[in-house]
């Protein structure tokens, strides 16, 4: 366990970049949104919502992928096993997702208490993902980090193991399979059923349950792929 923590430090030791980029870009997005919405005299009801928060999630997933392609060869060079490196990476990403979830929840509370920063902005309290329960709200914020980060980590591991051709080949295969699937669904007229299934799902299943499940599958896939990857 100590060794996993020692290796986890590889991800966190240069924390400025890890922390500053995602939150800096999100803060920028928040600032721009505040300016725009403050300059509108009367926002139409229900039009005070923004998707600026997505920037945080996207930048975080890019940082996660970069950490694989850069830290993995270094870790391997320092005599760290692939298994230890990967477990340390999972640990860092899970702890980070929970911490960021808590932070976003606090920002959510601030936004609520200040009346949307005085201009009824809904930057953190986005409709549908704004839930009543505090713990649940933290999970709703945290799980998309896990979902995006583990998917991007899986892609990065795939790249490390199979190279650019492997990555593009997998991408091509994915496009083919998705295309065939869409064709099949259209042909069979299943879209209605799928839509019905989705809308019958509980809000929490869609926000937390399913993404968490996919994140776990991606994390396990990454583990399987990295065990035979060479720097």
């Amino acid at each position: 366990m100590t060794r996993i923590l020692d290796v986890a430090r590889m991800h966190t030791i240069a924390w400025v970049g890890q922390l500053a980029w995602p939150w800096g870009i999100m803060a920028l997005s928040l600032g721009v949104n505040l300016l725009i919405f403050a300059s509108i005299d009367e926002a139409a009801p229900g039009k005070n919502t923004t998707g600026g928060l997505a920037s945080l999630y996207i930048v975080c997933s890019i940082v996660a992928a970069a950490s694989i392609s850069q830290v993995f060869p270094f870790a391997l060079g320092m005599g760290v096993t692939r298994r230890t490196f990967y477990l340390a990476t999972v640990l860092v990403n899970v702890v980070q997702a929970v911490a960021y979830g808590v932070l976003l929840y606090l920002l959510n509370l601030i936004e609520g208490a200040t009346g949307g920063f005085g201009i009824e902005l809904r930057f953190f309290r986005i409709p549908y993902i704004d839930v009543d329960n505090g713990l649940l709200q933290i999970a709703v914020y945290a799980v998309p980090f896990l979902f995006l980060n583990f998917l991007s980590i899986f892609v990065a591991v795939w790249y490390v193991r199979f190279g650019m051709n492997g990555l593009l080949g997998a991408g091509a295969a994915l496009i083919l399979v998705t295309g065939l699937l869409v064709a099949l669904i259209t042909w069979q007229g299943w879209f209605g059923d799928i839509w019905q299934w989705l809308s019958s799902q509980h809000q929490i299943s869609l926000l937390v349950g399913w993404p968490a499940l996919i994140a776990a599958v991606a994390a396990l896939g990454g583990m399987a792929a990295i065990r035979r990857a060479n720097a």
Binding site: R3, D6, V7, R9, M10, I13, A14, V16, G17, Q18, S67, Q70, V71, P73, F74, L76, G77, M78, G79, V80, T81, R82, R83, T84, R227, R228, N230, A231
Partner: protein
């Protein structure tokens, strides 16, 4: 117990056989020279021993265990390679701080003194280090780690002569105080000839030679003199190389040169001279290339 043991070790990359049926043993507390031309398989061999690569046939053990994904065995090894990359956000001090926790025998005072010796700025970003400074960083980790098995794969790229000498001096001094097994892979054979106690010579994936360096130096001699005399003397030896200038011949011979043989050479009017380790290696590898 052997530090490393390989038996019939073979590694293929597709059509290319990087290592071909290699068998040897590294015993403790010795400085090995892993020599050979570019593409001979030196780096591949070190990558296999340090678990950076797998997929072998034959047998390979590191401290008695298989190295691939073996935490216990790998924590006793440090592998410093010229091609090591560092995350771009790291500064020198970050690398040092991480290495300190990863290597059980790490000596922090020694590490700090090496950073001073090599003039490495601790707060410099690794991206901004020159080629020589990157090599110095690697050398610092490799020495301060004090790992029971230490690999240096061409660690001197970009290092000037003064810094290289510093590396050799620190290595030798620290090795004397803290004996361990060191494997030096290098092209600058003459520079490290005095350091190396045992030579492993690879050529196109095959282990050509596995011998103490003294023995190797004593085994290869250069005989020069009148053509007829040299050729007569050379009959009892393997001729690695022969060049003729008019009536005079100079030949590199391999075999045992005892007192009787030396006296015989003298009587024939032949001048026998030892060759440098580098020359011995060059002669041995080119002889094999010519034979093919």
């Amino acid at each position: 117990m052997s530090v490393v043991a390989a038996a019939g070790l073979t590694k293929r990359f597709g059509e290319v056989t990087a290592l071909d049926d290699v068998t040897f043993t590294l015993t403790g507390n010795k400085i090995y020279g892993l020599l050979g031309r570019n593409g001979a398989g030196k780096t591949t061999l070190m990558q296999l021993i340090t678990g950076q690569n797998g997929g072998i046939s034959g047998d390979l053990t590191l401290f008695g265990e298989r190295p691939y994904e073996n935490e216990r065995a790998l924590s006793r090894v440090v592998f410093i390679k010229e091609s090591q990359t560092y995350p771009t956000a790291y500064q020198v001090r970050h690398v040092m701080s991480l290495a300190r926790r990863l290597f059980p025998n790490w000596d922090e005072d020694f590490a700090q003194s090496l950073l001073d010796d090599f003039d490495l700025p601790r707060k410099r970003n690794v991206r901004k280090l020159s080629r020589g400074m990157l090599s110095a960083l690697g050398v610092t980790i490799g020495l301060a780690a004090r790992a029971p098995l230490t690999f240096f794969d061409e660690p001197y790229l970009g290092l000037d002569a003064v810094a290289r000498q510093l590396f050799y001096d620190r290595l030798l001094a620290d090795y004397a105080e803290n004996p361990r097994t060191v494997v030096l892979s290098t092209h600058l054979i003459d520079e490290v000839a005095d350091l190396i106690e045992h030579v492993l010579l690879l050529d196109r994936g095959k282990l050509l030679l596995d011998a103490p360096s003294d023995e190797l130096r004593g085994e290869v001699m250069e005989a020069s003199g009148p053509a007829a005399a040299v050729d007569e003397f050379a009959a009892g030896y393997r001729v690695l190389h022969r060049e003729q200038l008019g009536g005079a011949v100079r030949a590199s011979l391999r075999g045992s040169f005892d007192d009787a043989e030396r006296t015989r050479a003298k009587k024939l009017g032949i001048d026998l001279a030892p060759v440098s380790l580098q020359q011995a290696v060059v002669r041995l590898t080119t002889e094999r290339t010519n034979a093919r």
